[in-house]
């Protein structure tokens, strides 16, 4: 009996190990294929990092005029922009496939993944990489480090930062997948999908403290714009266990919803046959 249980866990361990080894190989390959073109790689990365500094300048000018927004000061905008950029950067650098799903659907490119014995969703996620996102990630990390110093964050909250970061990444990924999977139902909907993405990313970069009342609820529960930046920065500023729990719940919710909608959509997948792809 004991032996049997042991064997079961051993099989599971092997299964787990296989999955991890596969995922690592997938990500490695993805990044490797981008490194093939080295010069343009670094130009894009550095270009994007500089590009992002423009946001910081805009908000600097804004806070020169208005000083504070519902308790948020300019330094918090560094934290917010850093956090959102890092989430965006990591997700798109290793898993840009999340923004390509609709194209895969429209042009029938899911075929190659469907015939393999692994989750097609995960394969697609890690199949592509957005090079300049590495610039966003670097910019984000540097900004967050600076923020930790100028906002005098305590060691405890700094330890919390990676956890909040992972939760935000999960929500970000889940929401993107849901938006892209619309293409299963409405072909050629890429601009509609872009609109949804914009609805999350656009507001997430504004001083989130200005979102109050109904707008705050919409940007938390319907479009997680606050969840991927404003809420974690708020938690760093003022420790709030309820908000942490909310972030955990929302990240699980979006991931599950993404999986559910994608699986439902697969049943309608037409392999580019008659979806009007030219």
């Amino acid at each position: 009996m004991v032996l049997k249980k042991y064997r079961l866990t051993e099989a599971k361990m092997k299964e787990f190990k296989n999955q991890i080894r596969w995922l690592l190989e997938l990500i490695k390959l993805n990044i490797k294929s981008n490194l093939e073109y080295r010069t343009s790689f670094w130009m894009q990365v550095v270009g994007m990092a500089i590009n992002n500094c423009a946001f910081l300048v805009v908000w600097y000018l804004f806070f020169q005029i208005f000083h504070s927004v519902n308790g948020w000061k300019y330094q918090d905008m560094i934290g917010l922009n850093g956090f959102v950029s890092a989430v965006f950067g990591l997700c798109f650098f290793v898993a840009y496939g999340m923004r390509r799903i609709s194209k895969y659907i429209t042009f029938g490119q899911l075929d190659a993944y469907l015939v393999l014995p692994k989750s097609p969703l995960i394969q697609i996620l890690f199949a592509e990489s957005y090079v300049s996102a590495l610039g966003d990630l670097l910019f984000g990390i540097i900004s967050l480090v600076i923020y930790c110093f100028i906002a005098h964050l305590s060691l405890g909250t700094i330890i919390l930062l990676p956890i909040l970061f992972i939760l935000a990444c999960c929500t970000f990924t889940g929401f993107n997948i849901v938006g892209e999977a619309i293409a299963f139902w409405i072909p050629n909907s890429n601009e509609l999908t872009d609109a949804l993405f914009e609805f999350m990313l656009g507001p997430s970069l504004y001083p989130n403290s200005a979102f109050t009342g109904a707008i705050r609820i919409i940007f938390t529960f319907i479009i997680p714009a606050i969840v991927v930046g404003g809420m974690p920065v708020n938690i760093l500023l003022k420790m709030n266990p309820w908000q942490i729990i909310l972030m955990i719940c929302l990240s699980i919710f979006w991931l599950l919803l993404a999986k559910f909608i994608f699986d439902q959509g697969l049943k309608r997948y037409e392999s580019g046959n008659l979806t009007g792809a030219h």
Binding site: R21, W22, E36, G108, D111, L114, P117, R268, N273
Partner: protein
């Protein structure tokens, strides 16, 4: 038990049709919906080790069938079983047992050497490193790809690329391999090499081969059995050699004469062409015995040379399509 079973497999597509003349603003509202049966109540079985060709004109539903059997598309109705699994319900389990090659869609990374992609496939199929290495060595030898294994895929020729594609789909030693137009775009030499390799594959490991193709050469060289589909319906399912036997009711005779020809005539024979020293004839063997034709020619004329030919497989097949359409 057969390895592949299809029962009344059906797939319908919903098509939006734009009304002619509906442009700009109007096109927002004036769409009509139409249902097309791409695959209509198809049933057949395939045993282990068989080599089957699925052929038909463009849009006949070949690819749709292969896509349903490999778990890419959900059928509208009907059932299927591949290697003991339902393709769309147990897709991932089935995937360990099958290999797929789509001639027009690459599974390998375009920017990286094939060897990198192979390693990923090794992980995807959860092969132990030792097994993977051994199998890769075997395949590399069979397919003769050592030289360009380390070059990025984009630098390879189409034929070399296709060989790499097939290796990727064979790493896990599948029981069945599905190929959708594997020789499309290849030159004559590359086509022949590919067919040789696939044939030896079938012999060596008894791998079932199921392919769709436009190229009758693929079918003649590779497939013992042929299934013909037209407008989503099955119109022929038998041995490839029977295809010729059954449908060859026509023979062509080319005759060259010693003397200048004047006023050639013959009953129940179609005269295709008359030259000064020769004729080409078509004989429908159901109407007139070929022997009597030859006898008549020899009796009446002094001949230099005579050739009797069967029509090509391609002609036979296009004949079958035409008959089905009528």
């Amino acid at each position: 038990m057969p390895q592949i079973i299809l029962e009344n497999l059906t797939k319908e597509f919903h098509l939006k049709i734009k009304k002619p003349g509906a442009h700009g603003w109007k096109s927002l509202f004036q769409n009509e919906k139409k249902i097309i049966s791409a695959v209509d109540q198809i049933s057949f079985t395939v045993d282990k080790g068989e080599t089957v060709a699925l052929i038909g004109p463009n849009g006949a539903g070949k690819s749709t069938i292969i896509k349903m059997l490999t778990g890419i598309l959900f059928p509208t109705s009907g059932t299927a079983s591949v290697a003991g699994f339902s393709p769309w319900q147990e897709r991932q389990k089935m995937a360990f047992k099958i290999g797929t090659v789509f001639g027009q869609k690459s599974q390998l990374s375009f920017h990286l050497p094939a060897i990198d992609s192979f390693r990923l496939f090794g992980r995807i199929y959860e092969l132990d490193d030792a097994v993977y290495e051994k199998r890769l060595q075997e395949l590399v030898t069979i397919f003769n790809v050592q030289e360009f294994l380390g070059q990025p895929l984009r630098k390879l020729s189409l034929g070399q690329r296709m060989r790499c594609e097939i290796i990727a789909s064979l790493l896990h030693n599948p029981e069945i391999i599905f190929l959708d137009e594997p020789t499309i775009g290849l030159d004559v030499v590359a086509k022949r090499e590919l067919r040789d390799v696939l044939r030896s594959l079938n012999k060596q490991w008894n791998t079932t081969i199921f392919l769709t193709s436009h190229d009758t050469g693929d079918i003649e060289a590779l497939c013992k059995r042929t299934i013909i589909i037209n407008y989503g319906k099955m119109i022929y399912d038998d041995l490839t050699q029977n295809l010729q036997r059954k449908y060859i009711t026509i023979k062509r005779i080319y005759v060259r004469f010693e003397d200048k020809l004047e006023g050639f005539q013959m009953q129940d024979v179609t005269i295709l062409n008359i030259g000064r020293y020769g004729v080409s004839l078509e004989v429908d063997t159901s109407k007139r015995n070929i022997r009597s034709v030859l006898e008549e020619i020899i009796r009446k004329y002094s001949i230099v040379d005579i050739n009797i030919e069967d029509p090509s497989l391609e002609e036979i097949i296009s004949n079958i399509y035409q008959k089905a359409n009528e």
